[in-house]
C-alpha cells in the first residue's frame, strides 16, 4: 500500500497476556518510530529505528516492552504481561531519512494506529 499500515487495528486482551503489534512502513523509509497515545493525553515517544537498529529506546516504559525491525521494513512492538495501564493507541510512523539537514526532516507519515485495550 501507499501508506503506513498497522495491525491489528483493535486488540482486546486480558491482563497478563502478551501482545504483538505490527507496523509496515512506507517502502524505502529508513526511519521508523513508535509512539503511544493514552486517552486524553499527547503522543509519547517509545522507540526509534534507523534501518534495523534502534539508537533510541529511551521511551520504552518498562522491560515488558520490546521492539524489533527486520529487513529495514516491518517492525513489531511486543508487550509482555500486559497491564491495564498499557491500554492506549500505539502509533507507528516512518520517514524517508533523518539526516540533520534533510529537507524531509520532520515529516513523519503515520499509520492509523493499533488500539489496545487491556481488561
Amino acid at each position: 500500500g501507499a501508506g503506513v499500515s498497522q495491525s491489528p487495528s483493535n486488540k482486546v486482551t486480558e491482563k497478563g497476556k502478551d501482545v504483538e503489534l505490527r507496523c509496515d512502513p512506507i517502502s524505502g523509509h529508513t526511519a521508523l518510530y513508535w509512539y503511544r497515545q493514552r486517552l486524553g493525553q499527547g503522543l509519547e515517544f517509545l522507540i526509534y529505528f534507523q534501518g534495523n537498529s534502534a539508537p533510541d529506546k529511551s521511551g520504552l516504559p518498562s522491560d515488558r516492552f520490546s521492539a524489533e525491525r527486520t529487513g529495514e521494513s516491518v517492525s513489531t512492538l511486543t508487550i509482555q504481561r500486559t497491564q491495564q495501564e498499557d491500554s492506549a493507541v500505539y502509533l507507528c510512523a516512518s520517514s524517508f531519512r533523518q539526516g540533520a539537514y534533510s529537507s524531509n526532516t520532520g515529516e513523519l507519515f503515520f499509520g492509523e494506529g493499533s488500539r489496545l485495550t487491556v481488561l
Partner: protein, 112 residues
Amino acid sequence: AQRVTQPEKLLSVFKGAPVELKCNYSYSGSPELFWYVQYSRQRLQLLLRHISRESIKGFTADLNKGETSFHLKKPFAQEEDSAMYYCALISLFSGGYNKLIFGAGTRLAVHP
C-alpha cells in the same frame, strides 16, 4: 531538556472567530518546529513547518525565539478546522539522527 508545551487541552471557538493555538518550547540549539493535525477518524499528518514559512488551510505559525513560542494562528476559523493539533520539535541527538518530540496536543472545536 527538550520539551514542547501546549497549555490548552481544549480551545472552543465559533465559526469566523480568530484562533490561536499556543505552543512553547524548550531547546538549547536552533529549533525546528512543526504543527501536526489529526482530524476525526484520520491519521495524524503534517500541517506546516516553520522553516517553510508557509500558510496551509489559512493557518500560519511564526517562530519567536525570544519568547520560545510557535503559536498556530488562523484569522477566521471554519468548522472543518475542528481537530486535534500537536506542536512538535525536532531534537538532534548524537549520531546524527533526529527525534520528533510532541506536545500534549490541543483539541480545537469550532462551533457553527
